[in-house]
Amino acid sequence: MKRRAVSVCLVFAMGVIGSLELLPARPSFASWVGSNCSPNHTGIVHYRRKDAQAYAAVARSEGYEWGGGCWNDNNRDDTPGQPDSNGEGPDCSGFVFKTWELRNAVGDNGFTWYDKLENVHGKFVTTDYKYPVGSDPFVRLPDKKRTTTQYMDAFSSDTHVAMLWSWAPPSDNTDYVVEALGDAYGTDIFIEPYRFDARYVGVRRKNWTPDCYPRCNHPESLVRVP
């Protein structure tokens, strides 16, 4: 009985979250998003990890907004201390959606570039990243070994997701990740122990264009995180 009640609550909560994520951005008159954001996106064919890294770098030092997905490039949080106000920044799962150039269509592994000022979150939340199904444009990695993970892969738990950065960490127990960490921290590159936390799994976007493109006749070695 208790388990059933918990399940009902969980389903309800997921439904609420899901409905929020799938809805278009909230009407945002007099909000930061309403004043600064507009749709601008296009499908592209080739997308490399290093392109994704460069895209994510733009979001460094910007804000965090639960359910959000719009930011500028002025290296500060434009809506500090105003959580859930249609303010600046992505949340963690929306940040991965835009950085990985994912699409909302089922079974679509293609790429769509979204301008940083387009307020889009995408349909995927952290549980989708942690428990992908076959039609998703990402897969769960078989393990979290350093020889397996590559930069711009993600570590995802039920509640948070972050992407692995390419720098060698300053100590043995951490990784540099880029993430929309929370209202108080914003979006940036942080040092985190997700690899060593059993709640986190490794996730990889499907269909990356090799980093060597378009000169793969002279292949560069893949960048691995040391």
């Binding site: 939340v125 078989p142 929370g182």
Partner: protein
């Protein structure tokens, strides 16, 4: 030269007096990697590898609970906001003062909260944002206010904060952890804060001593000072960076390398089997020739993580007998917590797991 190595070797030999269950003990004779007998050039010696088993069915060691600060609203409580498409807002660090009172970095409320050992709220010091780390270096308390720009401050008795420059060549350093090094402070630097976009950050990375008086003087160190003229650093092994580390003791230009191989063991019924694991030693604590570390352990494979979960262990090495024991698991997602263990004024180890009851503080007997 040999004489200067003796304390290191003795320290390593002492490792063999283990309180846990390593499968292999350090040998009494180091194996030199480079020959320098009869000369004054530095030497590097390696010891046989230690094998440490982390059995996920092991019970946690029993520590004494000294404090519980509940979560909730109000100055005498701490903020815990469950994670949802973000990391949780939760206490990030703690420190035990010379009078045994406890300071907790209450990140969700952007403050340092001060409690007596009886749990009485003693006061607070507001911070400009969520504090990341907290440490006492002798009687001075330092707080890491921001990782990206390396903003460190000394917290004065009246609650005010005196900025400490963690800069080199006029450029701020990224700082992720603080360590005591009286009368100074040591930080773990990730290089220049403004070197984003480079293949690897430039500037001093690793352990850096910062003049605690605010002069701005920094000194790159070969390792974390652990007292008695020695330093230590932990490096991933090239052979297996997930399960092997090298603990490198440095003293007087000589190095002694203690390789450690971790084994992760899980049990299904009566059968125990080894599974692939990830081992992350964090929160290095220097203490009179010893170094302790909080080791996070996770199965590598997601199906193993689902089936067995992970764990946390304490590793202590150095002059004292080797200690390798399981710690209580947190009862809540705690990825926002940066400091899990710290040293008290009496040299005791303290642990702060986050549970549904609140932030609990334990002292090792």
């Amino acid at each position: 030269m040999k004489r200067s190595l003796v304390p290191l070797v003795v320290g390593a030999v002492l490792l063999s007096a283990c309180t846990s269950s390593p499968e292999h003990f350090a040998a009494t004779t180091p194996v030199p990697n480079s020959s320098s007998h009869g000369s004054s050039s530095p030497t590097t010696a390696s010891l046989p590898a230690l094998v440490l088993r982390a059995d996920l069915s092991d019970p946690a060691a029993s520590w004494d609970r000294v404090l519980l600060v509940p979560f909730g609203i109000g100055r005498a409580r701490l903020l815990y906001r469950p994670p949802s498409q973000a990391a949780p807002a939760e206490p990030t660090a703690f420190a035990v003062a010379p009078d045994d009172s406890v300071w907790i970095a209450d990140a969700g409320n952007s403050r340092l909260a001060h409690f007596s050992v009886t749990g009485r709220f003693l006061g607070e010091s507001k911070t400009p944002g969520p504090p990341r780390d907290l440490v006492f270096s002798a009687r001075r308390m330092y707080v890491l206010l921001e990782e990206q720009g390396g903003r460190v401050a000394e917290v004065r008795a009246e609650g005010t904060m005196e900025p400490i420059a963690a800069r080199a060549n006029g450029r701020a350093l990224r700082v992720s952890e603080l360590y005591p090094d009286p009368p100074s402070l040591v930080v773990l630097s990730g290089g220049y804060a403004d070197s984003l976009g480079q293949a690897q950050p430039s500037g001093p990375a690793g352990f850096v001593r910062v003049d605690g008086s605010g002069s701005g003087q920094i000194q790159a160190l070969p390792g974390l000072p652990i007292g008695r003229g020695g330093t230590v650093r932990v490096a991933p092994s090239e052979a297996d960076p997930d399960q092997d580390i090298d603990v490198i003791y440095l003293r007087g230009g000589n190095a002694l390398v203690q390789p450690i191989h971790f084994k992760l063991v899980a049990r299904r019924g009566p059968t125990a089997g080894q599974i692939a694991g990830e081992f992350g030693p964090a929160n290095l604590l220097p203490n009179d020739g010893d170094v302790a570390a909080y080791v996070m352990v996770s199965p590598s494979r997601p199906q193993d993580a689902t089936r067995y979960g992970g764990g946390r262990w304490l590793l202590r090495m150095g002059r004292s007998p080797l200690l390798w024991e399981r710690l209580p698991d947190p009862g809540l997602p705690d990825e926002g917590q940066h400091r899990h263990i710290t040293l008290g004024p009496d040299g005791h180890l303290y642990l702060m797991p986050l549970t549904r009851a609140g932030a609990e503080t334990y002292r090792r007997p």
